[in-house]
């Protein structure tokens, strides 16, 4: 089936669901079913709305349909020495670009280059009325109208299915090197922040089991100078590559086990929270993965007190994934959802239980 025919079919399904007021559950490759508060409704499959629409490496922009597999995108970009700089995790070979953007999860380079929304230039969405609307565009700078193409990043589909995206791409760094240091978690948080404030080409950081690792990416003179400035042990290239891949794609054992896990998004300088358990730190301290038996209410309260947020991954059924929203924010978000999806068809309750 051609992507255009597939889109027509998706649209028909939306219109039929709208007529019957039946909820729909948007699905790309189906690799992130675990994400969100709940999944209800008939599956709305976007996988066949796939394919590259336009890619001109000298524009640093790729436009593609939402069902395009992430692996296909990255392979294509690599042939031209480019990449998705936000290093999105892939939870399986069927992971699609639409799912990546809707999930809004970025990888190890998040703290240094930005998250997914920083690379989304445009998006086309299917509304609850079955209409395709385009926001943003295919150019780097665009402030015409509200920036709704970036609003879909991390929306978990509650505004409707993304059908097409334009993304900014970047050159693959000429050279990468990883340094390792023996540090406690508290020391690592301070050092990561200190190093991040120096003009060094830091592109990733992690701490696990008393080993702090930082990755430097750039041209050889810059990477060499940074290695000399920071010291530490240079990790063999293969070992370093395997490590960052395992963190990025959640294959590292702490992340890979589908058992209850906390994702703590905190101000980067937050000292390690007084919680027992097994900890992995990323993003120069701004992201912390914790496996613990501590009381969930206590975990959430400590994260909130530090100015951050806690999300429960792989929790028990009925257990909330995300922190609740303040009432003013919830009111605005309820009206925003209604603006795109007046009947509440799409991914009902998945991002916020009440929406």
């Amino acid at each position: 089936m051609s992507p255009d025919a597939a889109l027509l079919q998706v649209r028909e399904q939306v219109r039929a669901a709208a007529a019957r007021d039946m909820p729909l559950c948007i699905r790309g490759g189906g690799t992130k079913d675990f994400l969100g508060e709940s999944r209800v409704g008939e599956v709305l499959d976007l996988a066949a709305v796939a394919g590259i629409v336009d890619y001109d490496p000298s524009e640093l922009v790729i436009t593609l349909r939402a069902g395009t597999p992430l692996a296909e995108v990255e392979t294509l970009l690599a042939t031209r020495g480019q990449c998705l700089a936000f290093e999105p995790p892939s939870f399986g070979p069927r992971s699609t670009i639409g799912g990546v953007v809707a999930a809004g999860l970025a990888g190890p380079r998040r703290a240094s280059v930005g998250g997914i929304r920083d690379f989304v230039l445009g998006a086309r969405l299917l509304t609850g009325d079955g209409e395709v609307l385009g926001f943003g565009g295919r150019v780097m700078k665009n402030v015409a109208g509200f920036d709704l193409s970036r609003l879909v990043c991390g929306s978990l589909g509650i505004l409707g299915p993304i059908v097409e995206l334009s993304l900014k791409v970047l050159p693959v760094p000429a050279l990468e090197r990883t340094l390792e240091f023996e540090l406690s978690a508290a020391e690592a948080v301070v050092e990561f922040n200190r190093w991040s404030r120096l003009p060094l080409p830091l592109s990733a950081s992690s701490w696990f089991a008393d080993r702090a690792r930082v990755r430097l990416s750039g041209v050889a003179p810059a990477v060499d100078a940074a290695c000399a400035a920071l010291g530490g042990r240079v990790l063999p290239v293969d070992e370093a590559g395997a490590w960052w891949d395992s963190v990025r794609h959640h294959r590292q054992p702490l992340l890979a086990a589908r058992e209850p896990l906390w994702r703590l998004s905190l101000p980067s300088t937050t000292a390690p929270l007084p919680l027992s358990g097994s900890l992995l730190i990323e993003w120069a301290g701004a992201l912390r993965w914790l496996r613990t038996d501590e009381d969930p209410a206590r975990v959430r309260a400590l994260a909130a007190a530090s100015g951050g947020a806690a999300a429960r991954w792989y929790g028990a059924p009925g257990e909330a994934m995300f922190d609740p929203l303040p009432p003013a924010a919830l009111a605005v978000q309820r009206r925003l959802k209604a603006a795109f999806d007046p009947r509440g068809l799409f991914n009902r309750g998945r991002l916020v239980a009440a929406l």
């Binding site: 929304r117 970036r150 693959v172 998004s265």
Partner: protein
């Protein structure tokens, strides 16, 4: 110039609004006499003017909330304003509304050098953030040409860029959080010092929302380490197409320069007598390419950049040898707008963005439009990201010239849309480009913008009649633009 007298009805309204505001603001925070109001009748787009009912200048957050409360109760539109340097009439007052100046909320609340963030009030000038961060080796990256004067609140409203945004991003990429109040007086926090949180991410919607969604009272910005060194390559070309080709070639080899700017001959000729930047006046186009990083990194990149521009046919290549020389190379580019003001009584600055590969084509089309409208246009571009700033020169006192300039500008924006670009890259839609919004967006898309506006501001009192055109307005625009049944650039495929 004395503003024309108000209708009795509007006079009464002004009296009532002033009386209500006087209940919540000290007298030095409220302007209401005609002479006091005139300085607020326009922003940086002086072609559009409107005297407001009143101007409120609260000095703290409580004052902002109080003004919103009074205006909500009386159903009075509120137009927030920073330094008034915006170029699209975003801060153009509403005839029946209050201008809410945030200029007195000008404190840097906190600066955390270890976390690399600063919390600032909206009236803080862009440049003063970098000045405050400088002792820590940090700076705030977005640098619009008006950075000496423009405020961070205005930058947030417009999602401002600058000459370094190709590498370091726009305001959006450098702001972690904004805290503000909706017209209902509800506090709303978007984003945070953490990199993500629960629910929809409202930050990208609020940044660049041109004062339509909420009044921002505090902004958390990201501070970056100041690069150890920076140098500029200045390359001359005898053909604009070759200059464009070298821009593509630089990107193609994987270099993202810190800045990548182009000026045409007209622009160089306008700034040179004024700035003495050392520009090659015989060149059809000049490229300014900045490299930053460690000394060794910059050395390496400058070498590669110089080779690329030479291979692409540059007729002359100069590299800045000192920080003073680097600043001199930039001085002309950064002063292009004032220079246009020196060589012409008035100028009209456009802000379209196009896919970079269309640059030479758009320049050719602008040349033809100069003839058609009998007006000169000089061009400066953020060439790295395809953002054009054609400056149309005109004399507002010459009959018909402003109207011709406006049509000329609209044609350029229509062309940008037709080539897959946008009507505004960084200056915003404001009051100015509300007509061309009809070309870029469908009825359904514009309806979605209106619904988003209502989601934040159900009463529609914050900066009304800006950014989002009504259906009626678009029908009117369509009638104006269709000449003899023919749309401009009808032969081009619309993206």
């Amino acid at each position: 110039m004395e503003p024309s007298p108000l209708s009795p009805e509007r006079s009464r309204r002004r009296r009532d609004v002033l009386a209500a505001l006087a209940q919540v603001l000290p007298s030095d925070a409220l302007l209401g006499s005609p002479g006091e109001l005139v300085p607020y009748e326009c922003d940086g787009l002086s072609a559009l003017r409107q005297v407001p009912l009143a101007v409120a200048l609260p000095c703290d957050e409580a004052g902002v909330v109080a003004v919103l409360g009074v205006c909500r109760k009386l159903g009075v539109p509120v137009v927030a304003r920073g330094a008034g340097t915006g170029l699209s009439g975003g801060a153009l007052p509403h005839a029946d509304g209050v201008v809410l100046s945030l200029a007195r909320l000008n404190r840097i609340v906190a600066l955390d050098p270890l976390a690399g963030i600063a919390r600032v009030q909206p009236g803080v000038r862009n440049l003063s953030i970098s000045e405050a961060a400088a002792p820590h080796g940090l700076y705030y990256a977005p640098d619009p040409s008006s950075q000496i004067a423009c405020t961070i609140g205005g930058n947030v409203a417009e999602n401002s860029g600058g000459v370094h945004c190709l590498k370091y991003g726009l305001t959006l990429h450098n702001v972690l959080a904004v805290r503000g109040y909706t017209m209902d007086g509800e506090e709303l926090i978007c984003g945070g010092a953490a990199l993500d949180g629960p629910g929809l991410d409202l930050l990208p919607v609020v940044i660049g929302s041109e004062g339509l969604l909420l009044v921002v009272v505090e902004i958390t910005v990201r501070l970056l380490p100041r690069p150890a060194t920076a140098r500029v390559v200045m390359a001359s070309f005898d053909d604009v197409g070759r200059a464009c080709d070298s821009v593509a070639a630089i990107i193609a080899v994987g270099i993202i320069p810190a800045g990548l700017e182009m000026m045409d001959q007209g622009a160089s000729a306008a700034v040179e007598p004024f700035c003495h930047a050392g520009y090659d006046l015989s060149a059809a186009a000049i490229l300014l390419i900045e490299s930053d990083g460690t000394a060794a990194e910059v050395e390496d990149e400058i070498g590669r950049l110089s080779k690329i521009v030479r291979d692409a046919g540059a007729t002359a290549v100069a590299v800045s040898g000192s920080e003073a020389e680097r600043l001199r190379f930039w001085s002309g580019r950064k002063n292009a707008f004032p220079a246009a003001g020196r060589i012409s009584p008035d100028y009209y600055c456009m802000d379209g963005t196009i896919p970079r590969r269309q640059l030479a084509r758009v320049l050719g089309e602008i040349k033809r439009l100069e003839v058609r409208y009998g007006l000169r246009c000089i061009n400066v571009f953020h060439a790295g990201d395809g953002n054009l700033h054609p400056l149309i020169l005109f004399d507002a006192n010459a009959a018909g010239e402003w109207q011709r300039a406006e049509c000329f500008g609209t044609d350029i924006l229509e062309l940008c849309v037709a080539l897959g670009g946008t009507i505004t890259g960084e200056h915003g839609v404001g009051a100015e480009k509300i007509g061309t919004m009809c070309s870029q967006f469908s009825d359904g898309e514009r309806a979605a913008f209106a619904a988003v506006k209502s989601a934040f501001d159900p009463a529609g009192l914050l900066n009304p009649a800006k950014v989002i055109p009504t259906l009626h307005r678009c029908a009117e625009y369509g009638r104006q633009r269709v000449h003899a049944g023919q749309l401009p650039f009808a032969g081009l495929e619309r993206f």
